[in-house]
Symmetry: C2
Subunit: 416 residues, 2 copies
């Protein structure tokens, strides 16, 4: 049975999500009696979590004092990707006051990566972003035991299995910390400040280096028994498909993901099947050759020099499709058909009210969306799809840090 959260949580969340509010309006909105509200406000002021913010406009009677989250509040939001660290330090309203982004290989292990996270946060302090942190939220690209605050058997994170991420961050920064899966935090972010705003039941599908799904049911993230709910990248969609990094054949992400698309695009460029991609490949090669020639300028000409490695990316495929290149459009549609087939199954199963598509391949835009929609609507029951928007993430690459900040603030508020 769901019941209302504790009054102090509701006060803090409302001020976080809506900004300064008068005492009178707070009482109305939260349906708290005046003495109860005043006691809560007094307690939260004393705890340094909220502050007075001047007088509200009159509502006809006495003017009421505005209250707001204390301007000093700071949350650290960290989004670890397979190859990047994203950090935002935010104020109480989750607005960024400092942002850091740098490449980092998650495979270099938890000591190295967390040390770098700590260095960036200490730099933020030196830069004046905060005096002290109220909570740290972090997302990692693998399954997580949310209860224990540790990654659990994460396939692409060697050395991270059951590493005490939450404990170490909490100790380092002297505040509560919370650890979740990267796709879950993106879903939470999109629900806080994106297209899924206040939607209770939706799926957030991340299509990037891999494919994963954040599951929001009944207003909360559903994480599954072992923390790996939503791990849809290794669903088998074609028993005769290519071998996946997991060892099975024909997994969804072996057929459609950033790397799968790059591989197929490169083949289409080399074979000349796609004029748009062939043209880009030639330009990249020319640029790389020139750079290599400049590097070896003055040395002997070296005809045995290997051809520089250049890559075609999802961006090239998106641009090619926008120019009308038939192969680029086909590659995107085939991918959309694969993802759509899996989503049709998940829609029949979970009957959500929205599907949000995010991650790096969301840049494939409406060609991808149109194909996913077409398959989902055709294959799922009419009742489940009668009113089912399939839309792109609004927050894009900020979805993860936004969700990590929400989790951090919830954790701080709960422990207040």
């Amino acid at each position: 049975m769901h019941v209302a959260d504790a009054p102090h949580l509701r006060v803090l969340r409302l001020l976080r999500d809506e900004g300064p509010v008068s005492r009178a309006e707070l009482g109305d909105r939260l349906e708290l009696t005046r003495p109860r509200l005043l006691a809560e406000v007094e307690r939260l002021v004393a705890a340094g979590l909220i502050a007075e913010a001047g007088m509200a406009a009159s509502r006809g009677g006495r003017r009421s004092t505005l209250v707001e989250l204390h301007p000093r509040l700071r949350f650290a939001a960290v989004d670890l990707g397979a190859s990047s660290i994203d950090i935002e330090v935010t104020n109480g309203r989750l607005e960024p006051v400092a942002t850091y982004r740098e490449p980092a290989d998650i495979r270099s292990g938890p000591r190295h990566i967390l040390q770098r996270v700590n260095e960036l946060l200490h730099k933020a302090r030196t830069d004046g972003a905060f005096d002290r942190l109220d909570a740290v939220g972090i997302g990692v690209p693998g399954p997580v035991s949310y209860r224990d605050g540790v990654p659990v058997s994460p396939p692409i994170m060697p050395g991270w299995d059951r590493y005490p991420v939450r404990e170490l961050l909490a100790r380092e920064h002297g505040c509560p910390a919370v650890v979740d899966n990267d796709v879950n935090i993106m879903a939470i972010g999109e629900r806080h400040g994106g297209v899924a705003h206040s939607v209770d039941d939706f799926l957030f599908v991340k299509i990037g280096t891999g494919i994963g799904c954040g599951i929001h049911l009944g207003g909360a993230v559903y994480r599954g028994v072992d923390g790996c709910a939503g791990d849809i990248g290794h669903i088998q969609v074609d028993p005769n498909g290519p071998v996946c990094s997991c060892g099975n054949a024909g997994c969804l992400e072996a057929l459609f993901s950033g790397s799968a698309l790059a591989r197929e695009a490169l083949a289409a460029a080399r074979s000349g099947e796609s004029p748009a991609l062939a043209e880009r490949l030639a330009a990249y090669q020319a640029a790389a050759n020139q750079a290599a020639a400049e590097n070896s300028a003055g040395g002997e000409p070296d005809d045995d020099r290997p051809e520089p490695v250049v890559a075609i990316t999802a961006r090239d495929v998106a641009d090619g499709a926008a120019e009308g290149d038939v192969t680029c459009i086909r590659l995107i549609r085939e991918g959309g058909r694969r993802v759509g087939g899996v989503l049709a199954t998940l829609v029949s199963f979970s009957n959500p009210s929205m599907i949000v598509i995010g991650g790096g391949l969301a840049l494939l835009g409406h060609v991808l969306l149109a194909e996913i929609r077409s398959v989902v609507y055709r294959r799922s029951l009419p009742l489940a799809t009668g009113n089912l928007p399939v839309v792109l993430s609004e927050l894009g690459s900020r979805a993860g840090v936004t969700g990590a900040a929400v989790l951090a603030s919830d954790t701080a508020f709960e422990q207040a």
Copy 2:
């Protein structure tokens, strides 16, 4: 946020699930102070919901009075199938005091079917099963708006769309009523008194006339936004498969369900591919011919008489498989492979802690289970299947009425 339910609910559920308990033990178990407990007990005695039941054995100090659910309490549990009505009238502990089962075609419409349900319940009253009912719980074979107590666009229930089932039953029997999907009540039943006892996150997969899935997440049934979560029978598993009753091609239940299996078994019997099924078909035909001959005894012999229609059932396939008939075993395995493929996807998505297989085709037993397990374990992530039992329903055909009784009692207790 989940919090403890109201004390009176916890008292009533404990007495329902465990029988008579002493006041002292009740207080300990529910962590209620003695005055609080005594007040609750007094209130529930006054409301006629619980009664004293003698003295408990001494625990060293004063002997404590036993309390139990009032012996007069009665719940009606109704399970409507595509072709049957199952009713149990139970006492407070959900033990049946009267049972009715008869064939009925759900397509004959809500007036006819509910009238028959009411007649059976009035008969139960006349038979002495109860003086008055405390609640009615009913499951129907289609999507339900649980909140509104009505079926919603149920594909195999013409005339039932938004029919006020809950309201009419409540009015007829002068007590609260509750309506749910048939697979959901089976899942609830299995969790109350079957193999999923106290398991919080599991999938109950019913394979019968159709295929459906009851989803239990975090200790509660998940029904989806439109009440059709778990409607997995129409997931497409083979785009080149047979056309389904829904109009799409290759749906799971078009490939494996009671009717699909009967169709394939009949073909295998006629072609002689399966000796075991051919033998059974011949025996059924001989019996039917003899019956027809006896009916027309004394009349002219009629060589144009059409051959009587006889059917091979799942039971025949199960018996054939037990005798080692290769075709029967193949038919079951192929079905298990289809179901297993879909379940592997749902396991990756929802990371449950158990899968329960129920419905009419559960009689296919271990050959079916072994194939489902094999596909699920091979295709899902090791983390999600490391400790994932795939087991048969324990309650069998009683799962539905058991769950309907649980729902009825919960509804009565909540309104107490």
